[in-house]
């Protein structure tokens, strides 16, 4: 089982968050391009990621009094980690992000749940 300390380290890793940011922006750009049938690229807003992280319960693994940017970073770091550890593929992320959803943060919170379950299985 993954312990809370290890999870906390992953979620607070700035390099991982930067890496995960580029991963998620690319995956989201592919999802948008495939859904709309036209090439698109976009940067996901921190608010959407922070909402998703809160919905999926990541906040309780973070230090108190962290700001929205850090909450968003924790989601990016988590996804960056599971991708680098080959626990999830780019295609799996894209499929999840292509799900039709009125609230875009729901797809990202689903991603967090997948990432956490993979992390718990394999550690």
């Amino acid at each position: 089982m993954l312990n809370d300390e290890d999870l906390g380290k992953i979620l607070g890793d700035t390099g991982l968050a930067q890496f995960g940011d580029s991963l998620l922006n690319f995956a989201y750009s592919i999802a948008l391009t495939e859904t709309t049938g036209r090439p698109r690229g976009t940067k996901i807003q921190d608010k959407i990621l922070a909402d998703a992280a809160a919905k999926a319960g990541l906040r309780k693994h973070l230090p108190r009094r962290v700001g929205r940017g850090d909450v968003a970073n924790s989601l990016e770091a988590l996804l960056g980690h599971v991708w680098l550890q080959k626990m999830i593929t780019l295609e799996e992320i894209v499929v999840c992000l292509k799900t039709e959803n009125l609230d875009p943060s729901k797809n990202f919170s689903a991603l967090v749940e997948i990432a956490l379950s993979k992390l718990k299985q394999q550690s």
Copy 2:
């Protein structure tokens, strides 16, 4: 053979440039992470891309009097196009960007040359 008009359309496509931006930032983040052994993420500077596009001769396919941003965009659009058309893989891009080079724009100009040759072969 690819004609100049078609190439000009690809190079000037804003959506493709946005898509290519997310692709290249992710590929460059993987290259940095694998080279340094630590997760990193970064946004490639327009200056580096514009220098690379000029080196690889893309400028002559662009309208006159375009600014540095548009020149950088043309490189992103070209790479976005060849990736979406499955003429190049993410792994091939990463390998090219991992080449040790004192001048980082050289790896990007090598990428442009690869992309142009693939485009000419397959069209």
